[in-house]
């Protein structure tokens, strides 16, 4: 029995998914879907760096003791949540650039990825793909010490490969 099975039984979240606003949900739900598919216990919270800075600090400072092993943080525009969370805890932070209204997430991406030396945020693609991939990367990290999870991940990727292989593009007439 792996640690994840134990944790699942206990219901203790291993991954914290946080986002700057409820409006980020449409993007961030893609991370949730992945974690659910892999049975990773997780929790969901709106933690706004700018409107709830003290809550953010509290979240960050308690993360280790609460047993979180990864934090997936999504934010848009001047997206400070992932980087600040990374500053507040040694728990690894995985950042998701949420698309912004006018700059389509270019601002979000740069605000998240361009962290200074010493305080990393693992950054993923802008939008839905990035949210899903942040969760998949968390799974991959956890799978390095959990052989059952690794099997699940390998199976997941095999299915993904098969799905791609099954794609057909409209028939054409060879002349």
């Amino acid at each position: 029995m792996t640690i994840f099975t134990e944790a699942s039984a206990a219901g203790t979240p291993l991954v914290g998914i946080i986002m700057g606003s409820a409006s980020d949900w449409d993007i961030m739900k893609n991370a949730v879907a992945v974690l659910e598919e892999f049975g990773i216990p997780h929790e969901l919270n709106v933690v706004s760096a700018h409107r709830m800075p003290h809550d953010m600090v509290e979240y960050g400072t308690q993360a280790v003791d609460r047993g979180l092993r990864a934090i997936i943080a999504g934010a848009g525009g001047a997206a400070h949540l992932p980087g600040m969370m990374a500053a507040l805890t040694p728990v690894p932070v995985f950042g998701v650039p949420v698309p912004s209204k006018y700059l389509r997430g270019e601002d979000s991406l740069l605000s998240i990825v361009q962290m200074p030396k010493g305080v990393p945020v693992a950054t993923f693609a802008i939008g839905e793909a990035g949210a899903a991939n942040a969760a998949l990367h968390v799974v991959a990290c956890m799978a390095t010490t959990d052989s059952e999870l690794l099997k699940k991940l390998i199976a997941y990727r095999c299915r993904q490969t098969e799905a791609a292989r099954a794609m057909v593009v409209p028939p054409h007439v060879v002349m």
Copy 2:
């Protein structure tokens, strides 16, 4: 006697200048020079959002009670200091995008200016001009309730106008 004169006498800083790293000094000293020219009492601190988050929180939460009337914050890359300071205090924050090594401050600018509704950072140009202008804007804000300072500001700008008027471009021969 205006509040500034009193404050100067007392030595209590009215403006806090903070920056994410000592390496930002070459840019931020342009803000200091302006405040000194106008005799605005100020203080200088390195406050790294990412490496000193708790100090940053403390700085922000004490700002009102310490009597700060403006905070000038400079940072580069994923520049979170100005925005986080704005989240921590109602004291107005003036952000300076410090040029970054590879993206020349485009990342700094977007990380500072694209704040979400509710938590403003007044943002200025990338680099030296932005640092000086942040300070000049602080002076202008203070001058709205300090007629002596307003006189100084008007005089400063008159000198500036005169300096521009005195500029000559190399003579040429009219044919």
Copy 3:
């Protein structure tokens, strides 16, 4: 009784909101809403830098004597209004980049924020958030010398924090 209360009674605007065209209204109304919420007397004008340059000069040169303590200026594209207003008056100018049709406000942002040393424009985010934040920053600057207004601002931000705290993202099943 604070100066704002007095001014309100007198109906004298303390803040001038100007924009380059009536088409900027959908963005700039967000600044108006904030000022109204805080009870800051203000005035609204279309002042086009390019189509009404002489009116713009007049507006700028009279701003101090008319008692304006802040000017919020919105413009899009080659957005010259905020910078020119800053050149014409020592009253602090707060610039709002209005989104442009093809470049989404990137041109507006750079045209406003990249002011040369000596003539600052405090710049905010592109679009609605920027308009609201320009007004909030004006409030914050005014609040530094008005304890009643500061209380209002702190209360506003507390409500904002509570609203963020109250956000819930769709429930999920912890496994």
Copy 4:
């Protein structure tokens, strides 16, 4: 005898070259060189939109009566001089984006070229090429009503073509 010959004799400038700062000279001298080559009477002035706005207005409002037939305006960063000059006079304005320190003139270009409908600025390339070309375009416009100048322009371009034709790239061995 063409108007240009007359004007040359009288020494009355037909083209006003203005720039926001003496530091723009290294770029703008390329415009001067072209006008001198074609014998177009011109004048040179530093007219800072931001530090000398009233002088700028005066320059613009007098341009027609002073007999200017073109204004070449160079500026960098939040480059407002060309657009404001275009707002102040029906004399056609030719804008030169001067390279900026951090954004290499991208801000200058957008600030100049993205003018709203109704107030055009003819914009040219960033830097030296743009300055020379602004002057060449002025020459071309003037040449449409001055057959002598047209001959000169055609000759100039023929020389240019010959110079390009004379270019040789390092010899290589055909195998």
Copy 5:
């Protein structure tokens, strides 16, 4: 009676408006509208640099002899028409960056404005505003030697100023 009146009577076009494709019409019609408003005789042609290069060369080489005094050229994407036309004739060329499907005209703008020293294209804003302004700039250039046209242009701009002055933004309650 000015040359324009004469030309109008004769119906000889003074301005050639060309575009790379009929699909550019929605943008370029804004240039036509301006020329019609000012009564400038003009002609309209699709001249594709890439699909009709020899026609383009012919158009360019005949431009002077056909009496054209300005060419307004619109194109999108890798927009070569304005620059090539400028290479083919001393008649001044005014370029309009037509918005492109994916890059919104950023490619069009750079392809048109970044001409090398020696072959200028006067460039205007991306899209509708740019098309109208190219035509207005042509009018301004022509007006430098046509006092009647100058009067019309000044009147046009006065109407424009009045229209801007007449703009009202939604009423608000001054407190």
Copy 6:
């Protein structure tokens, strides 16, 4: 009888069209249409660099022996398929940047075109035009050793020229 006629008869594909996902079809079908118009035998496959890397390797390593003379590869976002295919085979690769959801294909373009020295990918425009042009370029390359195909290509381009010549823009009244 040229090689193409022979190949057509035999039905052996000379061109492989591959794309990273079936969702790229709407863009890539423009390449197919061109090849069909020219009667170039081709094949269509979804080959995902990221989800089917081993299939991709197989495709690349067999390309020469299978007789492919060109590979047209379309992909979006972090678009690795064209470059990896170029790494796997000496068969020339023609890359099509498929527009991405948030960055409109700017990421696709840079991921495809910025290949290091030694492993080229011939890159075309973002989107539909790029797909069609990749195929046309393949045709042009093949036509260099196939006089019949060259005739077809010349005829195709003549028709294209005629179509452009036939374009009319809405009539206007010459004044």
Copy 7:
């Protein structure tokens, strides 16, 4: 005794650092320095996606069995190595955008971070900071199941905080 201590004793690398060219070393050595500081056994290889694709495949397919728990991959320009490695192994990949000659790493960043859903690459800042942070993030991931390593990481960050706190900016005279 943790797994890391065991692994260190055995000398088996837990982290593979790969880069597209030896010229990437100046950037990637910053990742090495971090791993050495934390005593994480690692290996260094040049694995060029474009010049050594089959070696890359081999590296990827063996990564799990060889016991790698993380792969740090650096590449510049059309940077495909991190994404392809992620396609080849469930071992988590951490990507470092190496600055490119002309686009300063913007192409590298987009080529690495914009991965499609299903195949994540954890991406870090362009250049030296990104390389160091990729390694720090690997350490943080490993520390989630290694309490000794977590202690080291916390100590490392404390030293980092102290170093930032010790920074002083040049003294100034409070007036």
Copy 8:
């Protein structure tokens, strides 16, 4: 004996390398070096689209009859040479974006790659790598009908692979 051997004997160039200015040589010589290494007969010319448009037309219209099987065209800024050459001949054109002074070749890249449907330019990376790769792609296209050349290309790439394999990054101490 292949066609290339014959051509070499005859000295007839199969590839035309053209560039907009002699100043492009430092970039374009990288294309020459590749062609020389493969023994492809070629010719070198400065053909400026903007300063020598009629020569450019002549070059393009004669390309087929002169036996050219590929044209490699380099240009910078508003880079029209590759696209115009593609418009003038069915001979396939391979474009090289030459870095520009202020925009580092971003303008060159967009001006070359964003060609409209119907007139393709195969585009390569900005600068030296792009020039070399354009030539390598030409070689690859020619090799599809020349088995000797294909052998040479495969050998070239093998050497390239070996060179990459031989790269070592500084030794490190496995702990």
